[in-house]
Symmetry: D2
Subunit: 191 residues, 4 copies
């Protein structure tokens, strides 16, 4: 069983394509911002009733304060019917204004690449990345708005150091190993 990647440098998203964005986005280029990634599937009821509205609210409340909200469409079942064209309609109908990365299918199984890299355990999942590029929250399932607000407030208050600590650059090169080493204690949600 994979564990949620946490307290380590956020790996780059590896989408097959981007929607709502003229160009591909890079987490590295967004370094310095607090980033919220909402992983969802368009036919996941919990995503539609809870995850998407929460992402829209975060974007509406905090975009002007520097929060970058990104969607990550991580289809891990029913690949054949949930096409990018259907997703495009979904984004239009639900008036989703922020960029959405369409995760890249894996050749070895149903879990797409970025979902694997982050150790996401399903949808909806919320990932918060701090100004230094560290994953600070990696939560699967429903999370109360007040808690989400608290995490954002906390992370947004932190200073950005000038340099990324050594330990983090190291993680970057050993991402899979780190994830494999992730034990129960380290991977718990950091609240």
């Amino acid at each position: 069983m994979t564990m949620p990647l946490i307290n380590t440098e956020a790996p780059e998203l590896e989408p097959a394509m981007w929607m709502n964005s003229a160009n591909p986005l890079s987490l590295k280029a967004l370094r310095g911002h607090v980033i919220a990634i909402h992983a969802f599937q368009m036919l996941c009821p919990g995503c539609v009733s809870h995850g998407i509205p929460q992402a829209l609210k975060m974007n509406a409340l905090f975009a002007e304060h520097g929060l970058v909200t990104l969607g990550l469409h991580t289809v891990f079942e029913h690949h054949d019917v949930i096409t990018p064209e259907a997703l495009k309609v979904f984004l239009h109908e639900y008036k989703i204004p922020f960029p959405v990365a369409v995760d890249r299918a894996s050749r070895s199984g149903p879990i797409p690449i970025t979902m694997q890299n982050y150790g996401l355990q399903g949808t909806p999942s919320l990932v918060l990345i701090d100004r230094n590029g560290l994953i600070r929250l990696n939560h699967f399932g429903r999370l109360d708005d007040m808690l989400v607000g608290k995490f954002i407030g906390q992370i947004a208050s932190e200073e950005q150091p000038n340099t990324i600590p050594n330990q983090l650059s190291k993680n970057k090169d050993s991402q899979v190993a780190d994830k494999a080493a992730c034990d129960l204690h380290k991977c718990e949600i950091n609240n």
Copy 2:
């Protein structure tokens, strides 16, 4: 502009296929039951947040008292991406237990056949048919649960006469004409 068909005999549904039902269903064969038809599209936000939960509640509360709840998937935009296969996944994920008719595409325009016949003005729409096969409610948009309950209680209380009045059998043969003759006053929601 089409007007909602009301106070006239409910035309048979003309779906391309049925889901959640081994055999095609006929309104005529269901005569004697109060029937609720929920017209929806799987990528319509109002349907997912309001119409579908209301249909599920109606079915849960009133099926044992004889109410027949049917879905009607009336795609009138984005036909190409909202496939029957995608709908099948949707019904599974949203745990929709009642039969769903997949409306038949029209050759002459985007509005599918049954949707045209009933004069539906969009999705979600709720149609209530009484024990005699008459359309008693044909409502487009959100309708409060208490009002829906009141209509069902009212219609379910009515006796079923032994014979369908002449006027109704006549309507059956002049369905399009009747609909065309429907004026603003007659087509208002009958509450």
Copy 3:
């Protein structure tokens, strides 16, 4: 343990006073109307969050169709602090427009008179009385809006006979005995 009075003639309310009504009201004088009585206490959380909003909605939706909505303030605990003056402020702040009967305290115990007569089991309780003066629903606790609507639609559809059946006039003179005779089966909510 008292049982909810049901399927028998509704005894007159016996309030100490009325609010939002220039004159005392009589159920007998309202005969011919469907009547909804919402029993509540102003410091009962379930009443404030659910019962009162439901009563306001019923009144807003159905008053024009002949439904009479009445409040019944049945204080059965903390009599000393929940004064009529406090209730007056409550009705004002919550913008309650319908008449409210302030139930009369009993000399023999904490349960006020009308609450005893109806066999109410707590607050909020909803009592529905049909056009003939019969109690058709006597429900303690939360009831879904759709179910409330269904009961009202059902009862409102019924004809009012010219005369009250013998059995009912009899009940009228033996109200306490009838209540005492109320067994488990007869007193169940009639849905």
Copy 4:
């Protein structure tokens, strides 16, 4: 018109009495904690439907992380009917576990003392005080849970300096003057 006191040292509460607390509480003694004060009236609908549930949620989520939640019952109308005894029943029925200060009536007008000192503009109001005793939020009316969470996360992340800056000790002695000097810009909600 009074302005909300903000960005200055929080004046001590001046209640007539405390409930849910064996001893009177002092903000000074709580210095080092983030403190949330919910000002409410028990017959204010917005307090009961929104403010109180939000205060209960804050307390449930963040008490273990050091947040101190306090109620402040600021009756500024209907003094005669909203007695401390009635409030005691209210706190019991709504299962409010945190200490509640019952604001002291003023001799010169309807606004009680602490409400005046903080420049509260009505109920519900939410005041957030940081670890140094500074008022950081003073908001009248409904505030989204996500925003409340963000303010708490932000304030809780801040270090507590060893000494209170001079400027603040000065404020302490000139509290009324400071409030009077409060202009439109400085008193805006600090979000």
